[in-house]
């Protein structure tokens, strides 16, 4: 993908400087100097301390390899030092010390990526004390960051890992028009969220349309959909002015810098193209309104989330370059979810838009492969030509794109991070399980080896997690 070529150097630059957010917009690449000077953005004290874990090189042989780049073949994959070094029908002689895994009858895919999770912010065991996902005190809380709520010992984390998930975007909830920044985390054991934050992944900002904000703020406002729109516009008008003040100061360096405003800072990041917009929005007509909003303020919506009616405006999504993060079969649980159909992902894909299978569920995240299978077979049954490669992209390459990390992970290509899952069988079969999961080359889960089944602190003393057999 050409994005890889244009953005990789920027990501590398920000990595060297210890910033967690790679810029997204190729039009306005901020210079390294501006990064170090600005007080407004990407402050280094919130940096990632994630470190790749050591693992000998791994060669998986004789497996069916699904690369998420268009091909599925019988062959091998070799990875070393966290990177994929060879993938194909033949990969040559592995270096000494390589762990060789026989993949006969098994399947290999990229690690799964979920664009929509609340793991850590709505942690198990689900007490009120652990309910940290919605700062429902103002319709605009762009100033809050999900990473400041994430509990790294949420016992849902190892369960997601056992489902083959290597990366997830943790989002604030949908009570607010603008709910705050997301965190893109690597699914690894950790004591602190800093040890999970994906270096080089941009922040996202959670926005929400429709029923939730207008219900939560029924008394204060917004209480209608038109009130919702007015609320987003007011927030971005303020952010525009904030951005202008800072841009001026950054250029002129005269006098005191403008006062910092965390709320406006996040939205200014959106306007600069440095923060992705992740927009909870069910109804087709509302998604169209949000695309207009983005046009008014000159930003892109990277992905709609839930998008139960995405199939009705899939052509508009394709034109806008906005992904649809959607479910396979959830719907009907509220009015704005009433028109859910099983062929949503297939129709979005057919229209040329980026389809993403998301979960919004600590249960669903454990079986993303199954949801992709449901959506794929629903499509083929309806006569829509969905390929297995497209379906595997719904849970790998496409969500990686929606998070702005597709130059780093999401496919099995040489040079990408070795986020790799070995499945006991066809991942689109109900009977298959993730057998081994490597997170940047490190064996994060092995169904056949209890010592490779991570338990959080919370799991200790509460019996075996029981990942199935």
């Amino acid at each position: 993908m050409h994005r890889f070529l244009t953005l990789a150097p920027l990501a590398a630059a920000s990595l060297q400087l210890g910033f967690d957010s790679a810029p997204l917009s190729a039009q306005a690449p901020p210079s390294a100097e501006r990064f170090t000077d600005t007080l407004s953005f990407a402050r280094p004290q919130y940096r990632s301390t994630y470190q790749r874990r050591q693992n000998p090189p791994v060669l998986i042989r004789n497996a069916t390899v699904m690369t998420a780049t268009g091909s599925e073949f019988r062959g091998s994959i070799l990875f070393q030092d966290g990177k994929i070094v060879a993938v194909g029908p033949e990969v040559g002689t592995p270096p000494p010390g390589t762990q060789v895994v026989d993949g006969a009858g098994k399947y290999v895919t990229p690690g799964l990526v979920d664009t929509h999770s609340h793991i850590g912010v709505y942690a198990a065991p689900g007490t009120q004390a652990e309910s940290d996902g919605n700062e429902a005190t103002n319709p605009n809380t762009a100033e809050v960051w999900a990473e400041h709520s994430i509990w790294p010992h949420d016992p849902q984390i190892p369960l997601a890992i056992a489902g083959g998930v290597t990366v997830a975007q943790i989002l604030p909830g949908s009570a607010n028009l603008i709910g705050g920044r997301s965190a893109v985390i690597r699914m690894v054991p950790a004591r602190t969220v800093q040890e999970m934050k994906f270096p080089g992944a941009p922040y996202g900002v959670k926005m929400a349309c429709g029923e939730n904000p207008k219900r939560v703020y029924a008394n204060l406002g917004p209480s209608t959909r038109m009130g919702n729109m007015a609320g987003y516009r007011a927030a971005f008008i303020q952010a525009e002015q904030y951005r202008q003040r800072w841009d001026k100061w950054n250029t002129e360096r005269k006098g005191q810098p403008p006062a910092r405003d965390l709320r406006a800072e996040t939205l200014a990041g959106v306007l600069r193209g440095e923060i992705t917009v992740q927009n909870h929005c069910y109804r087709a007509d509302e998604m169209a309104q949000m695309l207009d909003l983005a046009t008014e303020f000159g930003f892109k919506i990277r992905s709609f989330h839930h998008g139960v009616e995405a199939y009705k405006i899939a052509d508009l999504l394709a034109k806008a370059g906005t992904a649809a993060s959607i479910w396979a079969d959830w719907g009907g649980f509220k009015m704005e979810a009433y028109d859910q159909i099983l062929e949503n992902l297939a129709l979005v894909t057919k229209a040329g838009a980026v389809g993403v299978l998301h979960t919004d569920s600590p249960d669903g995240i454990q079986r993303m492969n199954q949801d992709a299978a449901k959506a794929m077979y629903a499509g083929t049954r309806a006569g829509l030509a969905v390929t297995r490669d497209q379906a595997i992209r719904w849970i790998t390459a496409n969500p990686a794109w929606a998070l702005g990390i597709d130059h780093l992970t999401g496919t099995l290509e040489v040079g990408k991070m070795a986020d790799v899952v070995l499945w006991s069988g066809d991942p689109f079969s109900v009977y298959s399980k993730a057998e081994k999961v490597w997170n940047e080359g490190w064996l994060a889960f092995d169904r056949l080896d209890k010592t490779r089944q991570y338990k959080t602190d919370f799991n200790l003393g509460h019996g075996e997690p029981g990942v199935g057999r």
Partner: protein, 428 residues
């Protein structure tokens, strides 16, 4: 007859025999329509009768809404409507033992019909709240689910669990009958016990004692010569079939201690139980097996909470190894149509394929006394699904669904929407 089945209970019950007679009378009502009178022959399929081993290339003959013959060389009666099932898989219709389809509007908040306020509602029967026009009904049929057990919720004793077929033009035609009384043990009913589990158990014991006493002293009660009871007598009356063991209590319980409390209660009062939830049932699998208590559970439930810190995916496998009859009752946001995938996941989590099929057909039917449901043995109600392949696989689909011998529509509102937006912009 139909009015009878709408009632929450069979009226004052003199004894076991009378109740059973009424129950049987309810069962044998014939849903006699012209369509049901038709003879249908499903030919040449891979038949999984559940009552016996798989029959390759078998025929299933249906007359009057019942299966009349199953086998490889069973002749096709003259004049029968023939459905060629060559290469297809044929199973009994699936029974969802914790269904909501038909009771409320598609899961929309506030529009459910399975909850009555208050803690002690054994007389609550939701049958009149079933909506034959619910858009969820054809949707569940697309998943091969032909019957459901709708369980009321809330409080300590929520009411009667009602079995229904997903077919019929009126609630009383859909309903089969009440099959259990819903009992909640655990955090959900602490409120009914003044804030504690022990209080809830004590209240339940008092209700049982009162119901037994009331039943013994009906005449004195009418003469106002009894002490005050802890619940209105219509509620006590509704408890009696379960106290006598004619109906099971369908006990929502997840924590090991709650399941143990239920087992102890059943032993003390000689009650029949079916456990619903059973997140930690694996910890007491041997006790459940010994007491012959089936467990309806969610095979994918593995997220711990304080009602089930021991949640694990192989719960169902451990129960089967101990000899417990399991029932798969996954509550799935994708809807009850996904029951078959839950069964597939149960296989993934360690039980045999045959046991998984039984867990959505024969075992729920047996647990709830639906003696003419759950298999394709001759005499059973002809709820039959013809699948394109393995019913538990995503690649397969239910192609033909017969309920009471009648082919039902698998066209849903979702299909209407899909076809409108197949090409964009949609045709004007």
């Amino acid at each position: 007859m139909n009015a009878l089945r709408l009632e929450s209970r069979p009226g004052p019950v003199a004894g076991r025999g009378r109740w059973q007679a009424l129950a049987v009378a309810g069962m044998v009502v014939l849903w006699s329509t012209a369509a049901q009178a038709q003879t249908v022959a499903i030919t040449g399929g891979n038949v999984f009768p559940v009552s016996g081993p798989k029959i390759e290339g078998g025929n299933v003959i249906i007359t009057g809404g019942r299966v009349v013959a199953v086998g490889r060389n069973v002749p096709v009666p003259a004049g029968a409507r023939v459905i060629d099932a060559t290469g297809k898989w044929v199973t009994p219709g699936l029974i969802h033992a914790n269904a909501s389809a038909g009771a409320g509007v598609g899961g929309l908040g506030g529009l459910g019909e399975s909850r009555k306020q208050g803690d002690i509602n054994p007389s609550f029967n939701l049958t009149a709240g079933l909506d034959p026009e619910a858009i969820t009904i054809p949707v569940v049929r697309t998943g091969g689910v032909t019957s459901g057990i709708v369980v009321p919720d809330g409080g300590l004793l929520a009411g009667a669990a009602v079995a229904l077929d997903y077919h019929g033009d009126r609630a009383d035609q859909m309903a089969i009958r009440s099959v259990a009384l819903s009992l909640n043990l655990g955090a959900g009913s602490r409120g009914a016990g003044g804030g504690s589990r022990a209080g809830a158990i004590a209240r339940l014991k008092r209700l049982i004692a009162d119901a037994v006493e009331y039943d013994r002293r009906r005449l004195e009660y009418r003469r106002a010569a009894t002490q005050a009871y802890s619940a209105p007598v219509e509620e006590l009356d509704a408890l009696l079939p379960a106290i006598r063991g004619q109906l099971p209590f369908y006990v929502s319980a997840n924590r090991k201690m709650d399941i143990q409390n239920a087992i102890r209660l059943a032993a003390e009062h000689r009650l029949r139980l079916v456990i619903l939830g059973g997140v930690e049932a694996w910890k007491v699998a041997a006790d459940l097996a010994r007491a012959g208590i089936p467990v309806a559970l969610e095979p994918n439930k593995d997220i711990p909470d304080f009602e089930g810190l021991g949640a694990r995916l192989d719960n169902i496998a451990l129960l089967r190894e101990a000899g417990v009859k399991t029932i798969i009752a996954q509550g799935d946001p994708g809807g009850e149509r996904s029951l078959r995938y839950a069964a597939g996941n149960a296989v993934r989590n360690g039980i045999s394929w045959d046991d998984a099929l039984k867990s959505v057909t024969q075992w729920p039917a047996e647990a709830f006394g639906l003696t003419d449901y759950g298999t394709l043995a001759p005499g059973k109600v002809a709820n039959v699904v013809i699948w394109s392949g393995d019913p538990f696989e995503f690649s397969s689909a239910a192609e033909t669904v017969l309920i009471r011998g009648v082919e039902t529509s698998l066209r849903t509102r979702e299909h209407e929407l899909r076809d409108r937006y197949r090409t964009l912009p949609p045709p004007r």
